[in-house]
Structures are given as structure tokens and as C-alpha cells.
């Protein structure tokens, strides 16, 4: 009994859970920065830079602006971090130990919405005009990308026989090959990669945190540990979001742990590479362009994907 509990705590906190996701996320974020640097013929930061940045934020002073809604301002980063920690623990559990994958896709979807929601609430509570602009942009962007991601989830659910359980989706792919190989699966991964890009605020869709025009937008009033919690949740998402997409669409048949780690590392590297290529060949889009891209280009594509999935292609 005690063995079981301590093992459960270990799996949730350390190995495929929070600490592992955090480490991999930090590496992924660094890789994205390093690749961008290499694209521009620069040297780029050392591999531990993400962790150093975080550690530094936790030794800095916290400032709370006068006139801010204090409770909401302080609590937003903490809730955002705890939701992402829960999300990454569940997803990593599900991928590495299939029998522990208890959650369904709907739970994971709303756990994913919580961080963006509290970024918006934190920005609104900070009483800064530029933060309001950033929050308004993030809200509009959320309307765009969440819709597209729900479409790609529907494709995955149709393809794995109508089940919304993560374990069923994994089992279905382990038996019948990954969804990625079919036409509708390919459409779903295309939508998902743009979703990752927008969710993490990477360049074509970073208008909510645009450094040059609205001075870090939603993050403008956050400093020290509070900003650290936001960045820590982003670090976690850097790994667990691609892992979630891989779990939904690209599970390779095979049960041994080393093979799984190898394949997830390979697929993760490919996702990061695609993300940084998109980042480096695009300027920041206007909010109107981003919305019309998601709604009038990707959504019809997704609906075609749903029709293909219903046909079994």
C-alpha cells in the first residue's frame, strides 16, 4: 500500500511527471532559441539558459502596482502554474504508462484553457492600459485557436472509434498504427502545430506579448517570482503540449520504455524544428490576420478533415 502510494507520488512528481516535463520543456525552449539564433547566424544561449532565467526571476523583488486587484494579480500565476503542472503530469503519465492514463480529452482541454484564461485575468487586474490591449488580443486569439484545436480533437476522437479516453486513443493507435499516417490525421497535426504556436505565443502569433509595440503586453506589470510562475508554466507547456499532440496523433506501436523515450524524443525534436522554422520565416501577424487565418483557412481545412475521418480516410 505504502509502496504503491510512494510510487504514485514518484511518477507524478519526478519521472514522467512534473520534474521531467519541466526539464524537457526547458531544453525545448532553449532549443527553439538556439535554432532561431542559428537561423540568423548567431551563436545563441547555452543549454541551461531557461533554468537560469527562471532561477533569476525567483531571487528578484516582486512589485505590485498601485490600484491593481491584488488577490487576482497574485493568484493568477499560481493557478496558471498549478493547472499546467496537473496537465503535464497527466499527459506524461498517459504516454509513458498507458494503464495510468485515466483522464479523458475533455479534462485535458479545459486544463489547457486555464493558463491562458488566468494570463488574461492577471493582465486585466493589473490596471495597465498596455496590459489591457494585450489581454484583449489574447482573448481574440483564444477564440481563434481553441476552435481549431477542438476540430482536431474531434478528428482524433472519430478516428479512434468514438472514445474520448486518453488510454483508448493510445491503445487504438498502438494496435492500428498512428493516426498521423492517414489524410485526416495529417490535417489534424497541421492544425495542432499552429495551435501550439499560438498557445505558446511564438512569433507569428505573439501579438499578446509583443515586446516592441505594447511592451510585453499581458506580462507588463509582472515581475520577480510572479513572472517566474508564468514562465515556469510556459516551460512546462513547451514539453507537455507537443507530447499531448504526439499522444493524440503519433503513438508508435511498441511497449518498452526505452523505445517510447527514443520515439518521443525524435518526434519532439521534429515539432520544435517545425515551430522554429515557422517562427523564423514569418513576421508578427496582425490580430485580424491571425483570426482570419484560423477561422477562414484552418477551420474549413479542419472540417474537410472531419469529413475525411468520417469516411475512414
Amino acid at each position: 500500500m505504502i509502496m504503491g502510494i510512494s510510487r504514485a507520488i514518484f511518477t507524478y512528481l519526478i519521472f514522467p511527471g512534473i520534474a521531467f516535463s519541466f526539464f524537457m520543456g526547458g531544453i525545448g525552449w532553449w532549443l527553439e532559441r538556439k535554432l532561431s539564433a542559428r537561423f540568423q547566424y548567431r551563436v545563441g544561449p547555452p543549454w541551461y539558459q531557461t533554468f537560469l532565467d527562471l532561477a533569476k526571476l525567483f531571487i528578484k523583488e516582486t512589485t505590485i502596482p498601485t490600484g491593481a486587484v491584488k488577490t487576482l494579480f497574485v493568484i493568477s500565476p499560481l493557478i496558471s502554474f498549478s493547472a499546467t503542472a496537473m496537465f503535464s503530469a497527466i499527459v506524461a503519465q498517459g504516454y509513458f504508462f498507458q494503464k495510468n492514463a485515466v483522464a479523458d480529452v475533455i479534462v485535458l482541454l479545459y486544463l489547457l484553457i486555464i493558463p491562458s484564461l488566468f494570463i488574461i485575468l492577471g493582465a486585466f487586474s493589473s490596471r495597465n492600459a498596455l496590459a489591457l490591449v494585450g489581454a484583449a488580443r489574447e482573448t481574440k486569439l483564444m477564440l481563434a485557436y481553441e476552435f481549431v484545436f477542438i476540430i482536431s480533437l474531434i478528428i482524433v476522437i472519430i478516428k479512434s472509434g468514438g472514445s474520448i479516453l486518453l488510454s483508448d486513443i493510445i491503445r487504438y493507435q498502438a494496435q492500428n498504427g498512428m493516426h498521423l499516417k492517414s489524410a485526416s490525421g495529417f490535417i489534424a497535426i497541421t492544425l495542432s502545430i499552429f495551435y501550439i504556436q499560438a498557445k505558446l505565443g511564438i512569433v507569428p502569433f505573439d501579438m499578446a506579448e509583443a515586446d516592441q509595440e505594447i511592451m510585453a503586453g499581458t506580462m507588463i506589470e509582472y515581475s520577480g517570482p510572479l513572472l517566474g510562475f508564468f514562465r515556469a508554466s510556459k516551460t512546462l507547456l513547451y514539453f507537455s503540449l507537443p507530447l499531448f499532440i504526439i499522444t493524440l496523433l503519433g503513438v508508435v506501436p511498441g511497449d518498452t520504455l526505452p523505445a517510447k523515450i527514443l520515439f518521443v524524443a525524435l518526434e519532439y525534436l521534429i515539432v520544435i524544428l517545425i515551430i522554429s522554422i515557422i517562427k523564423n520565416i514569418n513576421p508578427r501577424a496582425r490580430i485580424k490576420d491571425a483570426l482570419s487565418f484560423f477561422w477562414f483557412f484552418l477551420s474549413p481545412l479542419g472540417i474537410i478533415g472531419i469529413l475525411l475521418a468520417l469516411k475512414g480516410m
Partner: protein, 140 residues
């Protein structure tokens, strides 16, 4: 040398503040981020908001209008935060010394950690200056 200073100096986030410069020093600061110099390899990043800043780079000659804004911005920065005077203007008021509008040099308004003179200073000089700042902080 403490662990705190070591961590702090390896990820200095730089906030760039012009208090009335001729834009020349600002261009030289941006040059530090280009492929040839690339200060991101030292962990430095140009960031948008003072709330995230570890270093405030001040360029230009202070005047009556910008001094209160500068004081306000310095008060908003979370401590520990270093102030670097870039160019001869904030160091010593340069040729605007006798101007009716330029009332003081930067170090009469707030504590300055590092002076980088030059009109404008080369990117090499700015990087050498930042290396000196790191040395100064970690030795303290």
C-alpha cells in the same frame, strides 16, 4: 561571491531607455544583438517592460522633461537593478553642458553602476563594459 550574484549576472535582461538621445547610441545597442556581436550568448536579452529589467541602459542627455520620467521608471524596476550610462551624454552631459534645458548628468539623479563613454560607443565597448559590470557585481 554568492550564488545569487552568479545567477543574476548570467541572465541579465536589458531594458533600453532613451531620455533624449540623438538615436546613435540606440543603434549601437541594437548592434550588440546582431550576428557579429550577439550578446544573447551571454544570456542577455532585450526586453520590453521595466518590470522585467535587471539592467537599465540609459542613453542621451537628460532634460527637464525626461528627468521625472526617468526617476519614475527607475522606481518601477524590481531591485536588484543596475543602471548603465551609455554614451558621453548621460555620463557628463557632453556638448549640452551649457544648455538651458540640460540640468544634470545621470549620476546626479540616480546611482549609476557603469559608465560607457563614447559618441557613440562601439558595440565592442558596450560588451566590454557589460563584462566589467558582471565582474564588479560578482566580486562584491
Amino acid at each position: 561571491m554568492g550564488l545569487k550574484e552568479k545567477i543574476l549576472t548570467k541572465s541579465l535582461w536589458v531594458f533600453h531607455l532613451s531620455v533624449g538621445s540623438c538615436n546613435n547610441c540606440d543603434i549601437e545597442i541594437l548592434d550588440c544583438l546582431t550576428p557579429r556581436f550577439d550578446i544573447e550568448r551571454l544570456g542577455m536579452q532585450l526586453i520590453g517592460s521595466v518590470r522585467h529589467a535587471d539592467v537599465i541602459l540609459v542613453t542621451g542627455a537628460l532634460n527637464k522633461k525626461s528627468t521625472p520620467i526617468l526617476k519614475n521608471i527607475y522606481a518601477q524596476a524590481p531591485k536588484p537593478c543596475f543602471v548603465v550610462a551609455i554614451g558621453t551624454c548621460p555620463c557628463s552631459r557632453h556638448m549640452f553642458k551649457d544648455s538651458y534645458n540640460t540640468i544634470s548628468a545621470l549620476d546626479e539623479v540616480m546611482p549609476v553602476d557603469l559608465y560607457i563613454p563614447g559618441c557613440p560607443p562601439k558595440p565592442e565597448a558596450i560588451i566590454a563594459g557589460l563584462a566589467k559590470l558582471i565582474k564588479k557585481v560578482t566580486r562584491k
